[in-house]
């Protein structure tokens, strides 16, 4: 069965420091991986995706993610965090039936 795990409910980081939000997945076949961000009382916004090719994927707002097939991970990263990055982040995997599976979310807190 397909699944996504986000092991950290919350990540705290100081503004200007690098951030990492972790995600591991389980899927049969080729993984199609996504990161979304959600601000309070809003829908999810797409950040980036991995389909194939380079393991380091760059996305919106300076975010990037590293795909690691051997560790079945797809961690979200940013070199220098901003207070405005504080939000809820979701990792998702898409299966061959066009169905998406979401992780439980990680709340990112960036402190000034």
């Amino acid at each position: 069965a397909q699944s996504v795990a986000q092991p950290e409910d919350q990540v705290n980081v100081a503004e200007g420091n690098p951030l990492t939000v972790k995600c591991t997945y389980s899927v049969s076949g080729n993984p199609y991986l996504f990161w979304y961000v959600q601000y309070p009382n809003r829908g999810l916004q797409f950040l980036l995706k991995y389909i194939t090719g380079d393991n380091l994927v760059k996305g919106s707002y300076g975010f990037e993610a590293e795909f690691n097939k051997s560790q079945t991970s797809f961690h979200l990263k940013k070199p220098s965090a901003l207070v405005s990055d504080s939000a809820l982040y979701f990792c998702a995997v898409r299966d061959r039936f066009n169905k998406f599976y979401f992780g439980s979310g990680t709340k990112l807190n960036v402190k000034p």
């Binding site: 199609y32 996504f34 995706k49 389909i51 898409r94 039936f97 979401f102 992780g103």
Partner: protein
């Protein structure tokens, strides 16, 4: 920029009443999803449409929930009767299915409160 539209944005109702939510996906997107998101949790798929056909409604509580997408464009999700435990954010999303590289695009959601 094309967006997924949802209405209403907020709905307050009493238990045992009927409620309905509307979604208009991005033009040309054949796949439409309805999710329920409880505060602080990830979205949970309720129903998935491919054009006008339901392809997955295994998590839809069919005794009280129904969904339709009659012409394969916009969609309505209905709850009758509403229960206290239905209080949540209801999200609609759409995606193009031409290639697996396509991500989902989400609407702003409908926040339902059942009193």
């Amino acid at each position: 920029e094309a967006e997924v539209a949802q209405s209403p944005r907020y709905k307050i109702t009493e238990k045992s009443q009927a409620v309905a939510f509307w979604c208009d996906p991005i033009s040309g997107h054949a796949t439409l999803y309805w999710y329920r998101q409880i505060l602080g949790q990830g979205p949970e798929l309720l129903v998935q449409f491919q054009d006008e056909s339901v392809v997955d409604d295994s998590q839809l509580p069919k005794d009280r929930f129904s969904a339709e997408r009659l012409k394969g464009v916009d969609s309505t999700l209905k709850i009758q009767p509403a229960e206290l435990g239905d209080s949540a954010m209801y999200l609609c999303a759409s995606s193009a299915t031409v290639a697996f590289s396509s991500e989902q695009f989400f609407g702003p959601g409908t926040r339902l409160t059942v009193l």
